[in-house]
Amino acid sequence: MKINDYLKQSSLNNILSVESVVSNNFRNKISKLSKSIIYIILFIFIFYFLFKNSTNFILYKKIVDFLIPKIIGLLFINIGLLLFSKLIDFYFSSTYYFEKISKNNYSKDEIYTFSAGRVFYAGRKTDILHGFIDSEIGKEVFLRLGISDIKKKSFYNFQKIEQENVMPKNEGNIMKLEDIINYFYDYKPTFVNFLNEEGISKKDLLGALNWVIYRIESEEYEKQWWRSEILLRNKGLFDDWSFGKTYVLDRYSRNLIEDEEVNSEAMTISNREPEIIQIENALSKSSGSNAMLVGNPGQEKMQVIWSLCRNLKKKKVATSILGKKAILLSVNSLARVCKNKDSFEEQIQKIFNEIIHSGKIFLVIDNLTELINTAKSLGSDFTNIFSPFLKNNAIQVISLVNTNDFHQYIEQDKTLSNNFEVIYIKPLSTEEIIKIISASALKIEKQYNIYFTYQAIKELAEGSIYYFSDGVSSDKAVSLLNEISPWAKRNNKIIISKDEVLDFIEKKTNIPTSGRISIKEKDKLINLEELLQKRVIGQNDAIIAISNALRRARTGVRSQNKPIGSFLFFGPTGVGKTETTKALAYVFFGGEENMMRFDMSEYQTEDAIEKLIGSFTTGKTGILSNILREKQYGVVLLDEFEKANKDVLNLFLQIFDEGFFSDMTGTKINTRNIIFIATSNVGADTIFKIVSEGKNPKDFQDEIIANIVSRGLFKPELINRFDGTIIFKPLEHDDLSKIANLMLKKVSERILEKGLSMEYSDEVVEYIITNGTNKVFGARPMNRFIQDSIEAQIAKLIISGEAVSGKIIKFIVKNDDLLAEII
């Protein structure tokens, strides 16, 4: 079937052809021009009537008489044009049914939606694909996807026009633009390949498409001033006359109906109907008609209330709250005014009495636990004052409580919790967050004169979850959006793409954002084994395992909801476990200061968990939470991990699994950009035994771990939670020799700064290995031995004045003693 025939089957064809002749832009221009001309003519007439009797006018009477009818004619034409453009506006508006922001009123015989019709209409002389690229919607979608005009045009010209053998289908339902996109994915492989080459998935294309449709529809919607929901936005002039005056409550509260969020169409996107129905049911109960919304800290709970208020305004709510006012009690202002127990209790009593008296209010308490704690700090028992009112039918309360606070304070308090219907607020999905911030972005774009691509919006939503673990994702995404806009403006960035968002997040968090690997970093990643081996001797297996994990992390292959990596290093003391960690911090994270060390033997007691994450009762903050809040990117070394308390081990189980933990206040702390390395020398004897038998411990890893588990110090579930369990073997003679050489080289480099050189023979190295290492502590005593024997002698020579710039200090072994000579 030809597109033209298909188009004609719907009654929307007429309006599409009108639109093609007098487009929205054209109408706007006509309307503006006519208005300006009308104003000028009116001004001329005023001028004429004021000065028509003056001598100048009389002199030019003939010309004036000639011009006046022509000016009147021009006025008529412009009034006609203005009326015409407005009439077409009405015509267009009244046939525009909203797919995204309101109830969709399409009937089946209309065949296609307005946006789909526009694409068909644009392609009536070519084909649907060309029509899509040519249409205003298509052009905007490509812009939103960041596809340049040149690329688009080259594809457009390359793509042959193909008359459709098969038309898009939607199983008898109204045809939407999504169906056309599905059709492209089924029948236009060249287009799909083009998108794939640009790194655009079907989900991205649909996301950008829906955003563009939403933009068009919300602008159309705002034009329709005659809609009852728009006309009834503001409150009535004498509404307050019918309510009991709430003098005290007014001082500590605000009417939520007047909030901007209630009147914003952007906020209607997230679907909160299930929660709203639960609230309405709770408030309709015959006694204890109160609801408690429990959810993550942030605005998500409030968003549900705003949605409820929107319904309240439209009068689409249960009769129990129909016609009532939603009043938000400000706990902070109450706390500011009430300085003692008596005044607090008096004000609370008055507030609730006023609410009962008014009869037209349901109260919203944003943070109930804060109110309880404020009362407690003043020596008052809020629950006791509150409970009788809660049981009263004349009062309806919606409390908003954070999940942690709910479990900590309210769940156990049966007097309080029994009077509330508890409703859990589900966090919004990434898709819903993308919808919310894409709607907000449209307003911000106008304000800052910037332009977001769809990928940028998507990255803002995903980045808000990944890089900022604390708080509600939709709030964080919106605040990121609000922060990035002035930043972009300052940096003269007009188009904000994914790269700009990643740049911004990187600057804000100091965390290198994945997805883009710089050349310097690329070199590091490719040569990681080589770089680590320069510092860590004899532990190639461990180095390979860590290097692979890091490469997985930086290329985005790893799970995004876990730390970069978590490793458990088993091995005897002094074999390079800590050195590997330091080397990693130095090579990959830019310095050893990015290694955060915790000696787990300090966390053996019952209060260990409080030391790490803080305590609510004492108000002390935790060491782990403090450090990780400040530094969200680096290596955390957990030395002697097996010695930690059981609760501490459980905390790390959660961290390795979820990539975050909550501190004493319930604030989430992100650990998704951290590498955790736990070390332990449990099982060192087994490793020694295997090595002494001439075997490689790597080949007996399972046996070694089974042996460690059998000792009861590590549970199998804990070991399994690590990304890798790495066995460090005892250092062999060759390894120790390399380490000794490495350390001596470092000393040599240090004294070179003073103009001195150092020489030593293999005998010296052998002497250091014999005296500076042992079976139990491996290479650990070597550093100390070099300090005592080599560095101490050099120091003496420098002080005595024998070693001056240009001299060579030579170390030799004589009579089983290490001596220094000056050459």
Binding site: N14, K70, L83
Partner: protein
């Protein structure tokens, strides 16, 4: 052939428009009037003023003594409370009457101009054509 097709399409479009103007849009004007009337009723809070017509002004009342007896103090208190409450009630009624009257006058004026807007809407296509034609005549033939 192409010319005929264009003509047909043009006529169809014009016909489609007129069908909308004198069909769906005419019906929509009634909805628009209804919405505007609701807006006026809402704006002047007429519903709430009427349903609460006898309610004391801003629900300001005093409470009656709890145990009624004929002792002079309690009786005095009872009478004074009754007087205050009655005054508040009357005061509320008077103010509401004024507000209701203002609202009703506005609604009535709006209803009265409805026939005029209806005529205007029916004549609008012709009015536009007349304005354009008359304008052209004035420019070129006067």
């Amino acid at each position: 052939m192409v010319y005929n097709n264009t003509c047909m399409n043009f006529l169809k479009t014009i016909f489609g428009y007129l069908k909308w103007h004198y069909g769906k849009a005419l019906f929509s004007t009634f909805i628009l009037w209804r919405n505007l009337l609701f807006f006026l009723i809402h704006f002047f809070s007429l519903k709430s003023l009427l349903t609460n017509f006898f309610t004391p002004w801003r629900k300001l009342t005093e409470s009656y003594p709890q145990n009624f007896d004929l002792s002079s103090e309690t009786f005095k208190k009872y009478i004074s409370t009754f007087t205050v409450n009655t005054i508040m009630r009357i005061f509320g009624m008077v103010l509401r009457t004024f507000a209701i009257l203002i609202g009703l006058v506005c609604c009535l004026s709006f209803i009265l101009i409805l026939p005029a807007t209806l005529v205007f809407w029916l004549a609008l296509p012709f009015l536009i054509i007349s304005l354009l034609l008359f304008g052209l005549i004035l420019i070129f033939f006067s």
